[in-house]
Symmetry: C2
Subunit: 227 residues, 2 copies
């Protein structure tokens, strides 16, 4: 792998460039008063179903919008549009993660002062998105009960880069003999003290608690800015 050192060097430049753009985005979000939440997980963990549920519930009481990243299709944006929230798809082509520049470009013509919450759904990937700051206030990593309790140990960087873990598809926990204690132990091993929430987009389990948590985080962020 003779080309590797050069690749590492170029990648560092890309990441540095990304961090600069992310910093600009974070400042723009702060000034606009919008609270930005990103979702990362492996493909099929239920990001889109969860986001559709969130948008549908929040749309009734505040101003919400979403950006959704995907390699090839606009399926997610079409699904999320059912929530009536504003949604824009970011099609990445062969790029396996979202970058701050893609968020910047997608939001170019948006008036962010008209939003309370902006959600960003990353490409399904438990590895590469961990390196890219998107300027978000909070990053949620999703882990579905069907994936196995060992995922935090096997993909530590993404759990470490996130602020909160969400265990999804709780309605299937019994069918797959999900071991909640093992999952929690593995999450805490990678990220001690990490907050963990459990939800089911199908039954609605845990959604009230999730929305309360989100509201509290947003209020804390606003209070911190006011101080």
């Amino acid at each position: 792998m003779s080309a590797e050192p050069r690749l590492v060097e170029v990648r560092k430049n890309v990441l540095k460039q990304n961090d600069l753009i992310a910093r600009g985005l974070r400042e723009r979000f702060r000034q606009a008063g919008v609270f930005v939440v990103s979702l990362v997980s492996s493909p099929g963990s239920g990001k889109t179903a969860f986001l559709e549920k969130i948008l549908t519930l929040l749309h009734a009481r505040c101003r919400v919008a979403a950006l959704v990243g995907d390699l090839a299709t606009e399926n997610d944006a079409e699904r999320l549009a059912r929530s009536k929230a504003r949604v824009r798809q970011i099609t990445t082509g062969t790029v396996c993660h979202l970058e701050a520049a893609m968020i910047q470009k997608a939001l170019d013509d948006w008036d962010l002062t008209q939003l309370d919450f902006l959600f960003v759904e990353n490409v399904g990937n438990l590895v590469c998105p961990s390196s890219y700051d998107l300027g978000e206030n909070l990053r949620f990593v999703l882990l579905s009960v069907t994936e196995g309790e060992d995922k935090p140990l096997k993909y530590p960087a993404i759990f470490d880069s996130a602020d909160v873990a969400i265990i999804t598809k709780m309605d299937l926990a019994e069918a797959v003999e999900f071991n909640e204690q093992a999952a929690n132990t593995n999450i805490q091993a990678v990220r001690p003290g990490m907050h963990v929430l459990k939800v089911s987009s199908k039954t609605g389990q845990g959604m009230d608690e999730f929305l309360d948590f989100l509201e509290t985080q947003r209020n804390r962020s606003r209070a911190a800015i006011a101080v």
Copy 2:
């Protein structure tokens, strides 16, 4: 993203280098008479459980071994060791896919003439492994019933790079209301004519058919070499 064109250029060099090493590996496998099969999927699709089942069933009747790629842990090698087959872990660190050079290094001290089948389990990732030839005879892409039927459309490159699709966790198909016809339609849309097998590592469903398929492919490959 000013650094992108340079990144693309360096990545092309890495891929070219990878292809050269993969070509060498393929020739080494051919000369040794070992049939090499790789498995790719998203994290949690059941690659390791499926591979453990395969190794356990095949170990009784022929000479099998496996390489397993993972970012951080040796858990998979430990699980697979229960099959009694020879297993070596490749820990990739932050690299989100296996490369031919990693396979070459891991096999450095192996006498491949002592093997009938070698299995290679990639890092759980539905994007990046698609670009890296590992010198394998066959690449299987796994899709679990819990992930959603749309995954082939959302991650077309990986389905296109694979030879056969394996639908896993069939024992959960009813619980998650898996739509087999939709999954098949989406697979065929991305890769027309792709062979699809359905399995459950838990119940053993489809394993006989899978092993028959594997044996047939190996015999065809040997016949082609003999001609």
